[in-house]
């Protein structure tokens, strides 16, 4: 937090009394009165049950959805629309099947008008970062789900975006691949000294994933969507420092935190009467 800063420009991603109400939607707002400051270099994970507004939060940060009240800022500048400084990786891969892997990764650079030699060189470098050397000429439909998400990550990284926005990027992957991708994300987030200011906003409904990855965990609750708890965590940093993933995830401190977050998510479920009826058996 840089609240002590006397400078008027707050670096990083800032949501101020953010509210979003979709036109025509009756009743509750998708988001209401959300205040959040995601600093440069942070890995913020937003978690919550469906309908808590976490996708809306990401869409506001991406510039796909405009706030109906409050403000969304990046480095003090209002977010007015999509931009290459905020790259998005989607759950369903949004890659272009008529381009091969290399051309998909180089797309952002091509849109910026870079020459073929230069953009190919940069795309190759990023593909190496996500361990996809040798797959440059493959087409998207020839790749596994995990490889496609690697391409999606590489495409977002290739433009040197300041902010990476990840919309449940690993939800469709099997458990083993998902863990590999979590490790990859942590390495990409921290291991690259050149991009120490790169920050990540990831939304997920996988509690273990959230606790493992987050440098800051944001718990959202539905009806209307709002932040109910914020927790600073360091499990991801322990992985970067060299500790094994299984060792971290089996640490009693990790398990206790996971159960705490689980409790909070289930508590929300009990609080919502509609959810209580539909999830009665589970509760």
């Amino acid at each position: 937090m840089s609240a002590h800063s006397s400078s008027p420009v707050v670096p990083g991603l800032v949501f101020e009394r953010l509210g979003v109400r979709y036109p025509g939607a009756r009743g509750e707002a998708a988001l209401q009165d959300v205040n959040l400051h995601a600093e440069p270099g942070s890995l913020v994970v937003a978690i919550g049950q469906s309908g808590c507004g976490k996708t809306t939060l990401l869409n506001v940060a991406a510039g796909f959805v405009s706030p109906t009240s409050g403000r969304a800022l990046l480095d003090g500048q209002p977010i007015l629309g999509p931009s290459a400084e905020r790259s998005v990786v989607f759950q369903e891969d949004a890659l272009l099947p008529w381009l091969n892997v290399l051309d998909n990764v180089a797309l952002g650079l091509r849109l910026r008008g870079l020459g073929k030699a230069e953009r190919d060189a940069r795309a190759r470098a990023v593909l190496a970062q996500v361990d996809l050397q040798g797959a440059e000429r493959k087409f998207i439909w020839e790749l596994s789900g995990g490889m496609r998400q690697r391409v999606g990550l590489a495409r977002a990284l290739a433009t040197d975006a300041r902010v990476l926005l990840l919309d449940e990027p690993f939800a469709a992957l099997d458990a083993f691949t998902r863990e590999q991708m979590q490790e990859l994300l942590l390495r990409l987030w921290r291991a690259d000294a050149q991009h120490a200011n790169r920050q990540v906003l990831l939304i997920t409904h996988d509690i273990e994933e959230a606790v493992f990855l987050a440098s800051e965990l944001v718990l959202l609750s539905p009806g209307p969507g709002r932040i109910v708890e914020r927790i600073t965590l360091d499990f991801g940093r322990r992985y970067i420092a060299g500790e094994a993933t299984r060792s971290i995830k089996s640490d009693p401190a990790f398990i206790a935190m996971r159960e705490h977050v689980l409790d909070r998510v289930f508590a929300q479920r009990g609080a919502s009467s509609a959810a209580l009826v539909t999830h009665g058996a589970q509760a």
Binding site: S87, V88, W98
Partner: protein
């Protein structure tokens, strides 16, 4: 043979499975679909030959396959109505090609505009929906009154038949663009023009090609009608004038050539589709 087919279609008993399963599965496909279709056509040809050779049907109504084949040779070398078969064919193909190029040049941009813009959709959608269901023969007289009996009228008639499916398919392809792809490209910094060029247009390509294929089908069948208008060359003209002289063999030959060309057009467009849009149909198989 049909009996053995039947027995093989039955569920395999455990004993049979133990014996040799791979052989059983290969035996089940004695004939591929293509081979069965070839059999159908051969049978049809045989029936045709039998009906004419036995004298059951007079040559005036149905000439024998041999005489049609002989006519083919005669038409290919000496010609009919002052033009060889190839010249008739070239005239017809030239017309449909010209109409097709014009329909793509106008139809694809129009379809993109309809797919992207509410205003363009409001203006052009009713116009296209209005003329599309009308059989081309119904407005043919009007075209002749307006544009005379020259080449323009013929090409225009085919053009109109091809245009509607191209426009409608293009617009549908544009509208069905995956929203995630658009958002992803926007977050990579794409401008509106870049979105069209790099995301929307390539994504709509399979639909555009389908529209062209359907358009070519209707266009080719309209061609015969178009060539009834005082043409001096063309397959439609050839069939029409042969009928006046009761040259049934030329009529039958012309029909066969028209059918073969239609099949070839369809097949080559399918091949083009597979070549230009190899991802189509297999991309969403996984998730």
């Amino acid at each position: 043979m049909s009996q053995s087919d039947l027995s093989l279609a039955l569920p395999i008993t455990p004993e049979a499975q133990d014996a040799d399963t791979p052989v059983a599965t290969t035996q089940r496909r004695i004939l591929s679909v293509g081979q069965i279709s070839a059999l159908t056509l051969t049978t049809l040809l045989l029936l045709w030959w039998a009906a004419t050779a036995s004298g059951l049907i007079a040559p005036l109504f149905l000439p024998s396959p041999q005489s049609v084949l002989a006519k083919f040779w005669q038409l290919a070398t000496r010609g009919f109505m002052d033009a060889t078969l190839w010249q008739h064919l070239a005239a017809s193909l030239g017309r449909i090609l010209l109409a097709l190029l014009a329909a793509i040049a106008i139809g694809v941009p129009l379809g993109i505009a309809i797919g992207l813009s509410r205003v363009a959709r409001g203006i052009f959608d009713p116009l296209i929906e209005l003329y599309r269901p009308i059989p081309p023969l119904a407005y043919l007289p009007l075209i002749v009154i307006w544009f005379g009996i020259g080449e323009l009228s013929k090409v225009l008639l085919i053009f109109l038949a091809v245009l509607a499916p191209v426009v409608i398919s293009t617009a549908a392809g544009v509208r069905s663009t995956n929203p995630s792809r658009i958002r992803a490209a926007q977050s990579l910094g794409a401008t509106r023009a870049q979105l069209v060029r790099h995301v929307i247009l390539p994504g709509a390509l399979p639909d555009i090609l389908t529209g062209v294929r359907i358009g070519l089908g209707t266009g080719w069948s309209t061609l015969v009608a178009a060539e009834l208008i005082a043409a001096t060359r063309g397959l439609g003209f050839m069939v029409q004038s042969a009928a006046h002289f009761l040259n049934t063999d030329v009529v039958v030959l012309g029909i066969i050539v028209i059918a073969l060309i239609a099949v070839a057009l369809e097949a080559s467009l399918r091949a083009l589709s597979r070549h230009l849009a190899p991802w189509h149909g297999r991309f969403h198989g996984k998730d």
